[in-house]
């Protein structure tokens, strides 16, 4: 009898890791992108100071084009950035899509290492690493390089997001730790708990149509005319 119990416990312990591993599926390409993001490449000290037109010609001469872009996207989450701050999730940069849209590698790959053996299109973090490196005072850090490159281009082209959340997911703190509610909390308690931190958002919400709307709008005509009241008049948890 005791042997049986020990045996079952043994089987259980053996199976447990297998069970939990099977629960979380991870996308292989995402894992690969994350893996790549974690790499820190050696710092390129000297670069070839071409003008932009030269650079474009060089790239064409080297026969580099959209066909050579194999990676669909990168996760721009280098440890170089992470060690300074971590407010947002790293951006998933659709490399292939941007390459196809611009059809000009030199827009981003604006310089190349002086070393002739180096790749024609080396990665950003080879040249842009730490900010305010006293030896290279005008070489901006990786985070700033990303932001300036992306935002300036988006602004000039008139497309692509220029606000934080257009590219980033916010690094939302784990709300399991923050929310403190008793078991079986009623709606009032839940709303009050949300408002504990999100009072500005609540104020904003009160000025929106979600709250102020008081009857059928032109947009609901023909749909649900029977909704005659907005949340502001009938809601139960009206704080």
């Amino acid at each position: 009898m005791i042997k049986k119990i020990i045996f079952f416990m043994g089987v259980f312990l053996f199976l447990m890791p297998g069970l939990s591993a099977a629960e979380v599926w991870k996308a292989p390409d995402q894992e690969k992108a994350k893996e790549r993001a974690r790499e820190v490449v050696p710092f390129v000290k000297e670069y070839k100071d071409d003008c932009l037109i030269n650079r474009r010609t060089c790239l064409v001469d080297a026969g580099i084009s959209i066909k050579d872009v194999t990676t669909v996207y990168f996760v721009l989450g280098s440890p170089v950035i992470k060690k300074r701050e971590d407010h947002y999730e790293p951006v998933r940069f659709a490399h292939k899509r941007h390459a196809a849209l611009t059809n000009d590698c030199s827009v981003c790959h604006h310089f190349r290492p002086k070393d002739e053996n180096a790749l024609e299109t080396t990665r950003c973090s080879a040249c842009h690493q730490d900010s305010f490196n006293p030896d290279y005072p005008e070489r901006i850090g990786l985070k700033a390089a990303y932001h300036q490159q992306c935002m300036q281009c988006h602004q000039n082209q008139g497309k692509g997001p220029v606000d934080c959340k257009g590219c980033h997911l916010q690094n939302v703190p784990d709300h399991k730790e923050l929310v403190k509610l008793p078991d079986g909390a009623d709606p009032f308690q839940v709303t009050a708990e949300c408002l504990r931190c999100h009072d500005t958002q609540a104020d904003d919400m009160l000025t929106t149509a979600h709250w102020l709307w008081k009857g059928p709008s032109p947009y609901t005509t023909g749909h649900r005319k029977d909704i005659m009241h907005g949340k502001g008049t009938t809601a139960l948890n009206n704080f």
């Binding site: 300074r84 006293p134 005072p137 901006i140 932001h147 300036q148 935002m151």
Partner: protein, 304 residues
């Protein structure tokens, strides 16, 4: 009123010797800016108005979280100033510049204490609670402060704010240049650490100034050809370069003379070694002595 001849001459002698001593030590006003101090460059053309600097500042300095930290929608509709709850704020200005689609292009400008090389507030502070230290930071020592607010009167940038609602222990509140961080090797002010576009560049003032001039030279037509803060009021630790005129982003036009120069020159030329009060004392003593002798004399004549 007993004024004997001997005491009178004693005083006169002291006064005379002081005047002579004073004349030899007469010297012109000199800047008290620390050598090799730190500086910071704000490149307004790079700032995107994310207000992360405000957030970092409040975290680093233990201030209340900035107003609407996560929402840029309405905050820029009013012009804000640094106050007793925020050492730095970012404002948005439409200066008439248009982007490639003829839409008005905003310019964002961060405001904070400029940490002047010869700061008016440092000169003004009655107790020396404000000092320019070797890092370049204008440092506030609350334990000396008496709350006279003369620093606020003196500041040409209108920076120091005051805790007007504290009845007993109000403090002057202004950017510290993250003094505790930058005095350590490799330390960087909170706002500079977080800036996503490196609109803020921190380093030795000389280096930063050189970067500023390099940027002006290497990007012809992009910037106004002026480094704001290089010479304003004798130079400041925080400097600005911009693509739009500085007065349009609320940076005041200021003379190149350091603010304290005139008042310090007057004070020191009049009062060093207290020569003028002592001389005045001597002169008045002499007048008093002679007028007394005169009246004594006439009294005696008239009285007898």
């Amino acid at each position: 009123m007993k004024l004997t001849r001997r005491t009178f001459f004693k005083f006169m002698g002291a006064a005379g010797s002081t005047v002579v001593g004073r004349a030899s030590s007469a010297n012109a006003w000199e800047s008290k800016a620390p050598p090799d101090s730190y500086g910071c460059l704000v490149d307004l053309s790079r700032c995107v108005g994310c207000r992360k600097c405000e957030e970092a500042c409040s975290t680093v300095n233990g201030l209340p979280a900035p107003e609407r930290a996560n929402c840029q929608c309405t905050i820029f509709e009013k012009k804000r100033r640094p106050d007793d709850t925020a050492y730095t704020v970012v404002n948005r200005y439409f200066t008439g510049k248009l982007d490639t689609f003829d839409k008005p292009l905003p310019t964002f400008a961060k405001v904070q204490c400029m940490h002047c090389q010869d700061a008016a507030c440092v000169s003004a502070c009655i107790v020396g609670a404000l000092t320019k230290d070797e890092t370049g930071a204008v440092h506030y020592d609350v334990s000396k402060c008496i709350g006279c607010r003369y620093c606020m009167v003196a500041c040409p940038f209108e920076i120091p704010a005051y805790e007007y609602d504290d009845p007993i222990t109000p403090r002057v509140m202004k950017c510290t240049f993250c003094y505790d961080r930058i005095k350590k090797e490799g330390g960087i002010p909170g706002c500079v650490t977080i800036c996503p576009t490196e609109a803020l560049t921190f380093g030795k003032r000389e280096t930063v100034l050189k970067i500023a001039h390099d940027r002006l030279r290497e990007n012809p037509g992009k910037y106004i050809q002026h480094v704001y803060g290089e010479k304003e009021v004798g130079g400041t630790s925080w400097m600005y370069i911009s693509a739009v005129p500085f007065e349009k982003v609320n940076l005041p036009v200021l003379p190149e003379t350091p603010s304290p120069k005139l008042s310090e020159t007057i004070q020191h030329s009049l009062f060093s070694y207290l020569w003028s009060p002592i001389a005045l004392f001597g002169v008045l003593g002499a007048v008093m002595f002679t007028s007394k002798k005169h009246t004594d004399h006439s009294n005696r004549k008239g009285g007898d």
